[in-house]
């Protein structure tokens, strides 16, 4: 770099520093937190991981918490807001009470409603102390001057006032209350799953208005082209066969002897649960193992069914090299699809998608391999994909309704895949 170029960039740097510091002085209040309260900030940093704020609030360029990432909802697109302490475009001028009202009450500082793409219906279960710890941590991240137009929904959903109706229907404000009849671990697990972990945001079925169907809590839901599987104790489609250790390994490493995290869950593992404490993961496992399963009596298709015969032949040719003839795979490397419960999920969304498009699995410090499933969409017809998926969902321990060619075609269209 020449001397003059170096001087120019030094001037630019000084100007930027002056501008940004003056903006801080004039605009930002940082709430009430003490920016050297190490214990609170550390707790907030951890809870920010658990709540996985960065998953949505990352900047388009990857700047943490700068906002702008598009969130696809059934009602249109939203963009996550800037939650850095920037005074003009972030949350720097918010008071702690305003921050708490947004996180746990779904109210913006101007009194308008937050869209529930922001999981305040779950965060409402958090304690005020935990929310303020998150705030204290967010106060320490570099302020990013980044204007985000959050509300990009079409009419009528763009009218935030409508959310008053939604809140009345689906939002039950209020902190988590411990169940004294259960162990402290169970209570911690319940708090994490129902509150900051907001597992139900994906895993609980939704009404047509996007509210939780609480009587089917954690029984699985299709979103963003994936099916977030049942995480109740169901033997057939949930975590019934998994030991608490299996659950901990999955959340920590992204892999266990049955299954591998990919898609949005892969992101969750990498960004969030791989960094939770062992004690919290154990607590979550204990809570999930206690979630009551709803038995759905599916009977497997008969082996002589022509679709099953075709599916078996395709399985043998295309799948058995890795997943083995008996579906058992290789522990921690190739999922055991004979026993992975999500295989027989109520909706075959994930299985179809993974066969068509392939999938990357989570790579973590515990499990750095990150094996990938190759794509078969270029090779198999819709009918062939339907046959092999039907076969897998009705073999070994599984039973599920057949998958139609039409479902595969629809998935192919939505994934914009050619054949």
């Amino acid at each position: 770099m020449s001397t003059s170029a170096a001087r120019v960039s030094l001037v630019a740097l000084l100007a930027w520093l002056m501008l940004s510091s003056s903006a801080r002085v004039q605009g930002a209040t940082f709430g009430a937190s003490d920016r050297q309260d190490f214990a609170q900030i550390e707790r907030g940093r951890y809870l920010t991981r658990v709540a996985d704020c960065v998953a949505c609030h990352a900047g388009a360029d990857g700047t943490p918490f700068a906002g702008g990432r598009p969130i696809e909802t059934p009602f249109g697109m939203l963009r996550a807001s800037n939650i850095t302490p920037d005074g003009a475009t972030g949350i720097g001028t918010w008071s702690d009470a305003q921050f708490d009202a947004a996180i746990r009450g779904g109210r913006m500082p101007d009194g308008s409603r937050v869209y529930p793409a922001m999981p305040y219906p779950y965060y409402t279960k958090m304690s005020r102390n935990d929310v303020l710890a998150i705030r204290a941590y967010l106060n320490t991240v570099p302020p990013a001057h980044h204007e985000v137009m959050s509300n990009q929904l079409p009419f009528p959903y763009k009218m935030r006032s409508l959310m008053a109706v939604w809140d009345a229907l689906y939002f039950k404000e209020g902190e988590f209350r411990e169940d004294a009849s259960k162990s402290p671990e169970w209570n911690r697990g319940a708090y994490l799953v129902e509150g900051p972990g907001h597992c139900g945001a994906c895993h609980t079925p939704k009404t047509s208005l996007g509210g939780d169907e609480l009587k089917h809590a954690y029984q699985g839901y299709a979103l963003q082209g994936w099916f977030a599987p049942d995480i109740t104790d169901s033997e057939d489609v949930g975590l019934g066969r998994w030991s608490p250790t299996d659950i901990v390994e999955y959340l920590k490493g992204g892999h266990n002897k049955y299954s591998a995290a990919s898609g949005p869950m892969g992101e969750e593992v990498v960004d969030s649960s791989s960094r939770w404490t062992e004690a919290d993961l154990q607590a979550i496992a204990e809570y999930l193992k206690g979630l009551p399963a709803q038995r759905e009596a599916s009977r497997p298709l008969a082996g002589g069914d022509p679709v099953m015969t075709a599916g078996a032949a395709i399985y043998w040719d295309a799948c058995s090299a890795c997943h083995k003839a008996d579906g058992s795979g290789v522990p921690y490397l190739f999922p055991d699809i004979a026993h992975a419960p999500s295989v027989a999920s109520r909706e075959p969304t994930t299985l179809i998608r993974v066969v068509l498009q392939g999938a990357e699995t989570a790579a973590t410090d515990e499990e750095p391999t990150g094996p990938q499933m190759p794509a078969f969409g270029w090779q198999l017809t819709d009918a062939q994909v339907a046959a092999v998926v039907t076969y897998i969902r009705n073999s070994w321990s599984h039973a599920a309704p057949p998958v139609s060619e039409r479902e595969v075609r629809a998935a192919r269209t939505s994934l914009a895949l050619d054949r």
């Binding site: 295309a318 090299a321 890795c322 290789v330 522990p331 921690y332 490397l333 190739f334 392939g358 990357e360 790579a363 410090d365 515990e366 499990e367 750095p368 391999t369 990150g370 094996p371 990938q372 499933m373 190759p374 794509a375 078969f376 090779q379």
Partner: protein
């Protein structure tokens, strides 16, 4: 215009096996490392998925995983008085390209060299006298011993999960293993692969002839394996598509399946693919490397400064880059002076095709893996008395047939027409009951004064740089060795019950159009004397101490084994010296 990039601690040229090993070791030491790779990024599910990896036309015939000669090539001649011409389609060997390098397409035959191979000139001179060696044979001792390398062979085998049966555990000869191997400190990490029928039959016949057959050490794993970096591999499916192919099942050891998943997670590592290093830069003294210059796919030129340069490209390109960068004295065969380009070697491969009674033998030859096979080592190195035979060197031999791929596995008995209905009938009649091991006799090639590499005076590459020129021919010693070994090999197939055995000897002149192996060695050899070696016993350049040269280009001559185990052990050995000694006191690790 050249863009100067921020300086790094280390720049690595070529991200194959040795580049990946050094990148891992040096990032573990806390250094900031960048690797620059001429070819593309490659990973299992995208680039060699099991639903299309087994495509013989695409990969074997059309060479998809390899460097394309249109990008760069080399020139070849047999003799110094000939004009070399550029190679426009690969033949005798296959220059790799892309992340993973030769580690993607290899068979994964994971051998150790014999202890005597490392002290070859001393050993042979002591046993047979100096006059027994041909006058123009330029073999040398390596400057490093088997015992030096044992812990590093071990590290590589445990990184890869190598499947095999130990023959010598801490000096104790073990049943079922290779009794000639040097002592190993512990067993192979996984048991040997199951042997298909023809391979097992070879082992049985060899034992009946009094030999000690053993399973070839294999990087196609007999069972699932988790390596010391916690990277997981799957069991081999015996699909028979290893050599020339990437493995879709995570079951062949490669940088992708053993090291890269961990390496790519490191904040102090960066890889640039599709970037070709055009020279290693040195300061005004010529004794210190300052980094490298490279060109990206858009034609933009960059300078990457670095304190330490690791040259870990394929043999030919290591030597070419040293010559182009004017590092080390170029070898001159007339004066026998200079070092860069000398002792260039390949391999002496031959084969036997055998035909069995199809009503009694069905070998199902497609059930195989790249490193499958039963071998004998009685005729390797100096495992037998060469005195009566008038040659030195040798090789392992075995039924190591790696598959029954449809295009090239068409053995027909001698005398069959080469096309037409009779040829088709013969292919059909013999496919299941004929054997063709591929590299059945895996002989050494020793070094000679007139076999070498230099820069071509005529032909240039796309950057107007001279192409590398290879001058190579077989000498009588190798031809005699091959005739002796091929005859011994054929005896085993007779003992197996073959009705016809067709010996295909390796003959002079060296033919650059017919595939042998990709085991090019030498040209930047290691040794104890800067007058006859380019690098010291730690693979450190004698001339530029902050440059280390990796790979088979270090071998002073080639032994009768596949080179990967040894070049990987040398990489770990060199990395240990850099970490434990060089970084504390950068400078020459050996004072000549």
């Amino acid at each position: 215009m050249t863009t100067k990039l921020p300086a790094k601690d280390v720049v690595i040229i070529g991200l194959g096996w040795t580049g990946s090993i050094l990148a891992h070791e040096l990032t573990e030491a806390g250094l900031d490392v960048i690797a620059i790779e001429r070819g593309p990024w490659r990973n299992t599910a995208t680039n060699f998925a099991p639903n299309y990896a087994q495509d013989e036309l695409r990969y074997r015939i059309r060479h998809e995983l390899f460097l394309q000669p249109a990008q760069t090539t080399f020139t070849f001649r047999n003799k110094m008085d000939q004009n070399a011409l550029p190679i426009r389609s690969w033949g005798a060997f296959m220059p790799p390209n892309g992340v993973g390098g030769g580690g993607v397409h290899w068979n994964a035959e994971t051998w150790r060299f014999l202890p005597s191979d490392f002290v070859l000139r001393t050993h042979l001179t002591q046993r047979y006298g100096a006059k027994f060696l041909p006058q123009d044979m330029s073999i040398q001792d390596w400057g490093v011993s088997y015992d030096d390398l044992e812990p590093h062979y071990d590290r590589f085998e445990y990184l890869c999960g190598t499947s095999g049966t130990a023959g010598n555990l801490n000096g104790q000869i073990q049943p079922g293993g290779n009794p000639f191997e040097g002592p190993r400190s512990r067993p192979y990490p996984t048991p040997a692969q199951q042997q298909p029928f023809s391979h097992a039959l070879f082992g049985k016949a060899a034992a009946e002839l009094g030999y000690k057959p053993f399973p070839q050490p294999s990087g196609n794993l007999s069972q699932a394996y988790t390596n010391p970096l916690n990277v997981r591999m799957g069991p081999c499916t015996y699909c028979g598509f290893c050599e020339w192919f990437g493995c879709g099942n995570y079951s062949k050891a490669s940088p992708q399946t053993t090291l890269l998943p961990v390496l790519m997670r490191k904040a102090n590592f960066e890889a640039r693919d599709l970037c070709e290093v055009t020279r290693i830069n040195t300061d005004s003294t010529g004794k210190r490397a300052t980094g490298v210059t490279f060109v990206d796919a858009s034609g933009n030129e960059y300078e990457q400064p670095a304190d330490l340069v690791i040259l870990s490209a394929f043999t030919i390109f290591n030597v070419q880059l040293l010559l182009l960068s004017k590092i080390g004295t170029p070898y001159d065969p007339l004066s026998n002076k200079g070092v860069v380009g000398r002792n260039f070697t390949h391999q002496t491969i031959s084969d036997v095709e055998s035909f069995f009674d199809k009503s009694k033998f069905n070998f199902n030859p497609f059930i195989a893996s790249g490193a499958i096979g039963m071998c004998i080592d009685e005729f390797n190195g100096d495992n037998f008395d060469h005195g009566p035979h008038g040659f030195v060197g040798g090789g392992y031999m075995g039924q190591v047939q790696t598959g029954g791929r449809p295009i090239q596995t068409t053995p027909v008995p001698p005398g069959t027409p080469r096309w037409g209905a009779k040829w088709k009938d013969a292919v059909r009649d013999n496919y299941l009951s004929a054997l063709k091991p591929g590299t059945g006799v895996h002989g050494s090639m020793y070094s000679y004064r007139d076999v070498y590499m230099d820069l071509d005076p005529t032909y240039r590459d796309r950057f107007n740089r001279p192409l590398a020129r290879i001058t190579m021919d077989f000498h009588d010693n190798e031809i005699k060795q091959n005739a002796f070994l091929t005859d011994k090999f054929a005896e085993v197939f007779h003992a197996m019950g073959a009705q016809q055995v067709h010996k295909i000897y390796r003959k002079a002149p060296y033919d650059v159009t017919e595939y042998q192996t990709t085991h090019l060695c030498g040209g930047a050899i290691m040794g104890t004397d800067p007058k006859t070696s380019a690098v010291n016993r730690y693979s450190q350049s004698w001339d530029v101490p902050n440059l280390f040269v990796m790979g088979a280009s270090n071998f002073p001559q080639n032994a009768g084994y596949n080179p990967t185990g040894t070049l990987a052990a040398l990489a770990f050995w060199s990395a240990q010296a850099i970490r434990s000694r060089y970084l504390k006191n950068p400078g020459p690790l050996v004072h000549a």
